[in-house]
């Protein structure tokens, strides 16, 4: 088998579930996460690249997931292709919109799940910024660099997103990010 084929297999075997989890956070749907990770893997391996380690490859694919997520959303708007997201909508979105709660979960779990369901209704760029900021614990500057945006735009996306979650979905969120925006990227919480 080809060298790229081998490293693709190794990456999926060892990091498949982590990458899938990340894509699920962005899309809120297992089907869309599946498509997204597969697209990101194609983007990563379709051109010859050298990766120093599996961590390096993992980080690259993760960035490709974020980029593919934003690009995919943009393209779906422009092109009359496949209707996205019909199958595999996040159950909790419908649940959230019907104003219900999860009877089979504790109240706290239900609330965080509802919050995620609300997050996946945000526009893609806002959603990506929120995920990079709060799940990946990245600074505004590094989010701006990763998404090719101005820092001011990232701040606006973050603040618009939090405003939407507070006003439309009535979540009682802290107005501030958990850390100052100059904090370096950490590897805590699987945020490789």
């Amino acid at each position: 088998m080809s060298a790229w084929g081998d490293s693709l297999e190794e990456l999926v075997r060892e990091r498949g579930s982590a990458l899938f989890g990340y894509a699920y956070v962005l899309t809120g749907s297992a089907d869309l996460a599946d498509d997204l990770v597969q697209d990101a893997l194609v983007r990563t391996f379709r051109a010859p690249r050298r990766f120093a380690s599996i961590d390096h490859t993992h980080a690259y694919v993760k960035r490709a997931i974020t980029t593919a997520f934003i690009d995919g959303a943009r393209r779906a708007k422009v092109r009359p292709l496949r209707a996205a997201g019909v199958a595999g909508e996040l159950d909790s979105v419908a649940h959230l919109q019907s104003g219900g709660h999860f009877p089979d979960h504790a109240q706290a779990v239900s609330e965080t799940a509802d919050l995620h369901a609300a997050i996946v209704t945000l526009p893609p760029r806002e959603r990506a910024c929120i995920v990079l900021r709060f799940l990946e614990d990245k600074s505004v500057a590094s989010i701006a660099a990763e998404l090719g945006l101005a820092e001011g735009s990232v701040k606006r996306y973050l603040s618009d997103a939090v405003t939407t979650l507070r006003s439309r979905h009535h979540f009682d969120l802290d107005p501030d990010a958990p850390h100052s925006s100059s904090i370096p990227v950490t590897t805590q919480g699987g945020s490789l």
């Binding site: 956070v25 799940a113 919050l115 969120l173």
Partner: protein
């Protein structure tokens, strides 16, 4: 802990727990076949690039008139050898500011989609694919306002990065080649989109260029009869997989490009046709054919039919061929 953080971490864990049921966990075959499609396109570009590293610079190429718009189709190897040999001599005789610019010959093969072309251009110029695609789309909008999409509106051709130092230069060149081809064939602007679209279908459907005019006749006959085109290549365009056959699920994709669902030509091309396919689109031969099927996947031999019964017999020939050659 911040509630947003907590919520996203839980979602990530929940997502990870769903992984074992995903298509990704099950098989990587689809991903690999998609990667191979891109690698085959890129290889064409990088093979040409490998032999095309010219010691001199773009100006030498221009002076020699190699890029006088007569570039396509060309054999990259021959052209590159000539350029390399002569321009490196010229370079020492006439040094110039651009003489240090490395010149690379890049080839976009016929049939490429705008997305694939954008990929090659992004690798060539070290820019994002979105930027490369925008460069193509902007040039198409500027030079061919009659185009409904950018697809097929750039000539599949070779160019030298020495002569076209930016992606905008390259895109402008590739689009201008196509516009000139259409003008040279005296196609009036209002009809050009349909010609490009038809040619892209012909290019994708015909395995052999000798069949172009016959495939063109089938398209023309079906359109005249008000029949749906029912060309699998249009479904492949909206659902890019390596597989030769399209699935029932793919046939049900609701898109104006799905010619099994909608009558008439799709709204844009499905790839960049070569000049022969454009000529075939303009001049379908006179037949009564309404069907065709490739009956030998190795030679590309294609059988045409007037009635469904004949066509069904041809499909059986294909099935027999597959049964005999499978594995």
């Amino acid at each position: 802990m911040n509630m947003l953080q907590e919520s996203l971490r839980e979602a990530a864990l929940h997502g990870e727990s769903l992984y074992s049921h995903s298509g990704l966990a099950h098989s990587r075959t689809r991903i690999k076949s998609r990667v191979r499609v891109y690698r085959s396109v890129t290889t064409v570009a990088s093979v040409a690039a490998g032999t095309g590293l010219v010691a001199g610079a773009g100006w030498g190429v221009n002076e020699l008139g190699v890029f006088d718009g007569q570039l396509s189709p060309l054999s990259p190897a021959t052209q590159v050898t000539d350029t390399a040999g002569i321009s490196s001599q010229a370079a020492s005789a006439t040094p110039s500011a651009s003489a240090t610019v490395e010149s690379i010959v890049v080839t976009l093969p016929a049939g490429v989609t705008a997305a694939q072309a954008a990929h090659v251009l992004s690798e060539t110029y070290g820019i994002g694919e979105g930027t490369a695609l925008a460069a193509i789309e902007n040039q198409v909008a500027a030079q061919a306002p009659q185009a409904s999409t950018a697809e097929g509106w750039f000539a599949p051709s070779s160019f030298d990065t020495g002569a076209f130092p930016t992606v905008d230069d390259a895109a402008a060149y590739l689009v201008s080649l196509r516009v000139q081809e259409l003008a040279a064939l005296s196609i009036e602007p209002a009809k050009q989109q349909d010609v490009i679209t038809t040619a892209s279908l012909i290019y994708r459907e015909a395995k052999l260029s000798t069949d172009y005019a016959l495939v063109s006749s089938v398209i023309s006959n079906r359109l005249e009869a008000g029949m749906r085109l029912e060309l699998e290549s249009t479904v492949r365009y909206i659902s890019p997989e390596e597989s030769f056959f399209v699935t029932a699920e793919e046939l049900a994709i609701d898109s104006p490009y799905n010619t099994f669902m909608y009558q008439g030509l799709p709204p844009g091309a499905i790839g960049a046709p070569d000049l022969l396919a454009i000529q075939a689109a303009l001049a379908p031969v006179d037949t009564n054919y309404l069907f065709f099927v490739t009956v030998n996947l190795t030679t590309g031999e294609t059988a045409f039919a007037t009635t469904y019964e004949e066509h069904a017999a041809n499909v059986q020939r294909l099935n027999d061929w597959i049964a005999a050659n499978e594995g």
